[in-house]
């Protein structure tokens, strides 16, 4: 897991696509040993021109929740989270898993968890908002797989383009190709253990960006659950922003998902969550609102 990645290459291939959208080309896995130095390097070397276009997009995301005009620059912690996301995405590459190294993807996911362990929860509302602005697009991420079948076989190219020779003479060789869009959940293939590790890694990321967690309640992966950081958002000065994040979603399943998670907490469920759910319910059903 060594790396010779330059900050500029990181910005172009990972950070900009993650924030601005577009094709994201992962490097080899970074790993927890190299991640802190790389994050420090990116934070110190990133040029204002590169940062400014990303700042415009981040402010645009943040303004969904709060009318800010400026945001703090992307912090070292956020760069560490970016590196963790990169490693999690890299772990979904089916090429990594081979007969000789069956547990490599699990190792990479464990490494991503170790990177995230170095990132503390946001200390204040502005930091939570800044983190959400950076990672708002993460759960919209997709991967385009191409399933190619020909007269004597078939193969799935996950996030890769099939070679031209395989697509040659389509009529003679009866070549058929089908494009499959994979979301975060379906990206990871393999054993249930591997999928559980994958979900754990995303959950660890969401704990560190609670507003993104609340903005994506009905996401496919990992299932929503009330965490200390999301409850802290609701009970602190950022309550209005957190409620706005919940109300922002147009999916009718938002309330039921939140409520189901609340029920699972049982007796330990905080009262502040209950109040918030009542408010959300009234918001979704104005006829039931208390007078």
């Amino acid at each position: 897991m060594g790396t010779n990645i330059t900050p500029h290459a990181w910005l172009e291939r990972i950070a900009k696509p993650l924030i601005l959208g577009g094709p994201l080309y992962p490097f080899d896995p970074i790993g927890p040993s190299h991640a802190p130095s790389l994050a420090q390097q990116i934070a110190s070397v990133a040029s204002p021109t590169d940062i400014s276009s990303m700042t415009v997009a981040r402010v645009r995301h943040a303004r969904h929740l709060y009318p800010v005009d400026t945001l703090p620059d992307i912090s070292v912690e956020e760069w560490l989270m970016t590196i963790a996301i990169h490693d999690v995405l890299r772990a979904t590459d089916p090429h990594l898993q081979s007969v000789f190294s069956p547990g490599r993807a699990v190792n990479i996911l464990d490494g991503a968890l170790a990177i995230l362990a170095q990132v503390p929860a946001p200390k204040h509302t502005l930091e939570a908002l800044a983190r959400h602005a950076t990672f708002a697009s993460v759960f919209a991420m997709q991967r385009q797989d191409i399933a190619v079948s020909w007269w004597c076989g078939s193969r799935l190219y996950a996030g890769r383009k099939p070679p031209d020779r395989l697509l040659a003479w389509p009529e003679v060789r009866r070549v058929r190709s089908e494009i499959l869009q994979q979301n975060l959940q379906s990206m990871m293939t393999g054993s249930e253990t591997l999928k559980a590790h994958h979900a754990d890694a995303w959950q660890a990321l969401l704990v560190r960006t609670p507003l993104t967690d609340l903005m994506n309640v009905t996401r496919p992966l990992p299932p929503f659950r009330w965490t200390p950081t999301t409850v802290a958002m609701l009970s602190g000065p950022g309550r209005d922003i957190a409620m706005r994040a919940l109300r922002w979603q147009s999916d009718p399943q938002t309330y039921s998902t939140c409520y189901a998670s609340f029920v699972r907490l049982g007796d330990s469920a905080p009262a502040i969550v209950k109040t918030a759910l009542e408010e959300l319910f009234a918001w979704n059903n104005p006829a039931n609102q208390r007078t």
Partner: protein
């Protein structure tokens, strides 16, 4: 050159001196030194024509600056003229394009060295313009002193070469052949002006060049506005071979053009306003010459050089056209010639019954208050008030400035500008101070006749002051008169389209396209 520009140029030189573009020689990669450092009290030098001055610095009779291109030459001249005049070196200055044996063309600027102080000054400027400074005599020039060699350099061996210039530098020795001379005057005339909205905003002498049809109108306008000016006709050969007649334009010399007239002359087609930067040289307002022309006495003062913006060629007149005061062109009126006889002495003895008009305070309610007189002392308050005026007032009000003060007219009522002495309208173009009545209590038409029935003036009757007549043309819309020109500068914009279109992030495991 404005003081601010000069200060900026000096700061730039100082900054470059503190942070030189190249690291000092100690930290450079050590190359075999090609020149010998002159030691203190050394008197014998190998380079022909090189001696030492009173301070012991190796110095030839001439100095030489080698510059890589014409752009660097312009940069050097711009830096030099922003700090000091070229007059002291101009007599011996030669600018040549030279060619090396490798075919590269460079620019050589040579001049009489005269002393190490002048050479030090020029060497500093040349260093900023990325040029090299040399000293020597007719053909052989050695690098001038720098921080490594405070007493200068000498050559270990004189090169046998047949070039026009043989230059010895610590990092190179090169032979150059002269290709052609560069005329400084021609260079100054060929350089395009650069846009500078702030240029000419300060008060100062101006020239106005007007098309033939515009000349008489401007003459009358300047007379009406009591602006001192001189006018003449300038002629020059036709610019195109298809034109037969020479080009003829009105030329106005205005020692102090009021700032309110600047936008008018800058925006009116057919009139070009220029600022006189030195005797015989004028530059169009809103533009700036890359080189400080005041420091380049290459144009004869008895002629006239006009630099125009928009990449037009400058106009060079060998002699200044004859100019006369615009008051000589004022409209003249003759008496009607009714043939009436002059009054005889006996008639003069008849006691007169005519009385002057007086203004007395009145308790009548005010009405038709449509003007105000703002004394000059109230101008600061009025400027503050301008920021608070509503759109309708700004649209309908007009103002005229006189030596007594400003007269503000507003047919919609003057109550939105509570400043100065209010005036009510007695009849069209006749205004009386509000709160006063005229005695004798004559009709307004009689008053108008008594005032001479002026058709092209507004007449204002104020207490304790004789009636004031202001030409109708002196009233201009309030925004045009009061809002000063705003400066602006272009900035590079960042493309935000990628942020606004926001495509979905897509994971691709292939290598990125090159």
């Amino acid at each position: 050159m404005p003081a601010a520009d000069e200060l900026a140029a000096r700061q730039r030189v100082r900054r470059l001196r503190q942070f030189p573009r190249y690291p000092p020689a100690k930290s450079c990669i050590t190359l075999p030194a090609m020149l010998d450092r002159v030691a203190m009290h050394q008197s014998r030098l190998r380079l022909p024509g090189l001696g030492t001055d009173g301070k012991g610095v190796a110095l030839g009779s001439r100095g030489l600056v080698l510059l890589a291109s014409l752009e660097r030459l312009v940069a050097f001249l711009s830096l030099y003229t922003s700090c000091q005049s070229l007059a002291d070196v101009l007599a011996t200055l030669r600018i040549e394009v030279v060619k090396s044996k490798m075919g590269t063309r460079e620019v050589v600027l040579s001049f009489a060295a005269e002393g190490s102080e002048r050479m030090d000054r020029i060497a500093e400027m040349a260093r900023v313009a990325l040029g090299y400074t040399f000293t020597g005599s007719s053909r052989h020039f050695v690098q001038y002193r720098d921080i490594q060699a405070p007493f200068g350099y000498d050559v270990p061996e004189v090169m046998a070469a047949d070039g026009d210039y043989v230059l010895y530098h610590n990092s190179f020795s090169q032979v150059y052949h002269r290709e052609r001379d560069l005329d400084l005057r021609g260079l100054l005339l060929r350089l395009h002006l650069v846009q500078d909205p702030a240029f000419g905003r300060d008060p100062g002498p101006c020239l106005l060049v007007a098309e033939e049809g515009m000349g008489p109108a401007i003459v009358q306008y300047l007379i009406r506005s009591r602006v001192e000016a001189r006018v003449g006709i300038a002629q020059w050969p036709p610019l195109s071979a298809l034109d037969d007649a020479p080009v003829q334009r009105y030329l106005f010399e205005v020692p102090a053009l009021p700032p309110r007239m600047l936008p008018l002359f800058q925006q009116t087609p057919g009139v070009t306003a220029l600022r006189v930067v030195s005797p015989g040289i004028a530059i169009q307002l809103g533009y700036r010459h890359p080189i400080t022309l005041q420091s380049c006495p290459v144009f004869p003062p008895q002629g006239l050089v006009l630099f125009f913006g928009d990449q037009h060629e400058p106009l060079v007149l060998d002699t200044m056209p004859t100019l006369g005061s615009v008051s000589a062109f004022a409209r003249v009126e003759f008496h009607g010639g009714t043939g009436m006889q002059a009054l005889s002495g006996q008639q003069l003895n008849v006691p007169t019954t005519k009385v002057p008009i007086r203004l007395l305070p009145s308790i009548e309610p005010w009405s038709q208050v449509q003007a105000t007189f703002i004394p000059t002392a109230d101008y600061p308050t009025f400027r503050h008030m301008l920021y608070r005026l509503d759109t309708l007032t700004l649209k309908t009000a007009s103002i005229a400035f006189t030596p007594h003060g400003a007269f503000l007219l507003n047919p919609k009522g003057i109550d939105t500008t509570p400043i100065g002495y209010f005036l009510r309208e007695l009849r069209p173009r006749v205004f009386l101070a509000a709160g006063y009545d005229i005695v004798p209590a004559i009709d307004s038409d009689v008053l108008f006749q008594a005032l001479g029935a002026p058709s092209n003036h507004h007449v204002f009757l104020l207490p304790q002051v004789p009636a004031i007549g202001v030409p109708n043309q002196a009233f201009v819309p309030l925004p045009k008169a009061m809002i000063e020109g705003q400066s602006w500068a272009p900035v590079n914009t960042l493309p935000i389209e990628p942020a606004l279109t926001m495509p979905i992030p897509q994971v691709v495991f292939d290598n990125p396209p090159r």
